[in-house]
Symmetry: C2
């Protein structure tokens, strides 16, 4: 029985983790759960899964009765996350939240030698260097994201890094794959928030519509798999069957396919190095026609802005994270148009005159700087 | 440096093996080569690759000067194959011939503990039981055929058999994928011998047009990978990029893709467990649109006859090999029509009243019985 600590229990990846735990109660149990601010949902999850330990990142007062949390050890405040992951009773720590709020806890979890599963691209992009220095053993840090999970599946258990020539991940294309290009500037947040395949939070859904999400995932893959950014490629794949692949040095390609449901990559990462049976009454994967097309720069400039930021390296990937957050924010508020998102991000990156980060704290601060610079650029130009 | 013994040096798979040896002269050398009857080509291969040992299966007189074979140790006759594979100087033995003529040598090679690479489905189908009893260690018997190589690539180096739910292989569809069904009975051997993707010998090209080849490959995969026949499926895949795949017990699927060129699977099997670099100026695999469709029983009845023979087990797979040889033979001679091939094979299988094979010799004899029964059925009904 593996005891799980789940950070981001109330989000979409968190709910996939909970489905896995629920499906295999003999294998996994929820030991502790953390959320950012949704205390009601957090407590109800803890009750349902009989988890005794709840952590709330925000430390502001909550209006729940003592009776409501009876039997649950609730702690609040950002620093309690670090306490959470260091509990020696835990076997696996899952980082299913977004943003960099759990970055310190992630590094602590790795240093403690526990298995760590991650579906948090911001932390990897901003703190990749420090995260990787904290890894204690092979296969300690495992990807939950479907694309990275797919690459990892293709690499197999004993693949040598020197055997890999190229990696790729796919994107469904989002809601605007076939939208008239010239009308993109007019699309309302309501339309951009309708993702054809995945149900996710607002920020990541807009990032999927702009294809920034895929750019961030390419950077994430580059960090996770030690692969130069120009050897990882994104493809548009509207059928969402194939999620990622690896091209080996002999030119052969391995592709990983599954239904677009986070249950599967989550299960694979949680049960690794075993595989657990998903009952056969589930219908086998239909393949049919699979289209894999290059990503069009005119339709998806954000993807290329992200790759550019990764190529520039240094402060730019962390700045990108902050600038994108602010740009999406401004778009959802109606302050900028859909096609102004990449423009604002590009201007923000261009406006940075500072240094590379020397410490993890510097790197995290760069996300804030990215946000601030984006606000400035917005006021200046748009 | 690996010393290679190549059986079937003058055939299409043999030429792929020779291309690999030629491309990596620091890694592989041809130590000995065998052919069925084409002595001129065999000697010219030995000269080009500086191989000192040549073996000709047919022992009839050949009209070559002593000068022509100067420096080459030429031996003739079927029993010399066994001598060939037992030479302790050899590291890897490759069975690239078709038919069951090399079955005894194959078993000897395995018993000697050498690495054995095989692209000979008849031997596996007829002698599978005895071949597998002769295997001395894991990964000793490696598949060269693109489809089986693809499955093997998907399994990875340390996959547990219990992790696999289903396997599949693909077929291009051959020359008659879109041919009017009602006109199939009229197709001439000349048309059936035009394969859209692979350049191969006559027998296997007709088998590809009827899809018998895919049926035989399914049986081969079932033997090689210890997989029940009903858990291996063929798909029509006209683009010939994906060659095989594995579905795991959790429902995820791994697909192996490469250009349809025997160079690649041959290289992978020869260099295993290493991977060798194929220079990057070779263009990366284009994926584009990939179609995977079920095999249509009306168009390709031979495929279903083969699966049926495998399900019946016992004598039937070996009988199938003989019956198909004779049916293809009769078709090429113009004695039966294209659509009579599956009918004749089915009648042949139905007419068998004998026992299961008890020994390898029984099994090999069943191929002859299959041929003889097919001739009888031809005279009787067609």
């Amino acid at each position: 029985m593996y005891k799980i600590a789940l950070i981001g229990a109330t989000g979409s990846v968190g709910s996939a983790v909970l489905r896995v735990i629920e499906t295999y109660p003999q294998v996994f149990s929820l030991y502790s759960a953390a959320a950012y601010r949704n205390i009601e949902k957090l407590i109800s999850i803890c009750k349902k899964f009989n988890a005794k330990n709840a952590y709330l990142y925000e430390s502001k007062k909550y209006d729940m009765d003592k009776d409501d949390i009876f039997g649950i050890n609730l702690k609040t405040g950002s620093e309690t996350l670090e306490e959470m992951v260091c509990d020696p009773n835990i076997d696996k720590v899952i980082f299913a939240s977004s943003g960099v709020a759990s970055l310190k806890a992630l590094i602590l979890a790795l240093k403690s030698g526990k298995d760590v599963l991650i579906a948090n691209k911001e932390s990897l992009i901003v703190g990749g260097k420090w995260i990787k220095e904290s890894i204690k053993h092979d296969n300690q840090l495992l990807p939950l994201d479907s694309e990275h999970n797919a690459i990892w599946l293709c690499l197999g258990k004993s693949c040598r890094a020197s055997d890999v020539r190229r990696m790729f991940i796919t994107a469904s294309g989002g809601p605007f794959l076939n939208y008239p290009l010239e009308a993109l500037s007019e699309v309302k947040p309501k339309e951009a928030l309708k993702h054809p395949v995945w149900q996710m939070g607002n920020k990541i859904t807009i990032d999927s519509a702009t294809m920034m999400n895929k750019g961030l995932e390419i950077i994430e893959a580059s960090i996770l798999f030690n692969m130069p950014i120009d050897r990882i490629e994104g493809f548009i794949h509207p059928e969402s069957r194939i999620h990622g692949g690896v091209e080996f040095i002999d030119g052969s390609v391995c592709l990983a396919a599954f239904y677009p449901d986070m249950f599967l990559p989550t299960l694979y990462a949680l049960s690794y190095p075993q595989r657990l049976n998903v009952p056969a009454e589930e219908k086998p994967l239909e393949l049919g026609t699979l289209n894999l097309k290059p990503i069009d720069e005119k339709r998806y400039p954000c993807y290329f802005v992200a790759i550019e930021a990764a190529r520039m390296g240094g402060a730019y990937p962390a700045l990108l994270v902050g600038a994108d957050e602010e740009a999406v924010n401004l778009y959802i508020k109606g302050s900028i148009t859909f096609t102004e998102i990449p423009k604002l991000i590009r201007k923000t990156l261009d406006s940075y005159k500072g240094e590379e980060p020397q410490t993890l704290e510097d790197a995290v601060e760069l996300v804030n700087i990215g946000r601030t610079l984006a606000k400035e650029q917005f006021k200046k130009y748009l």
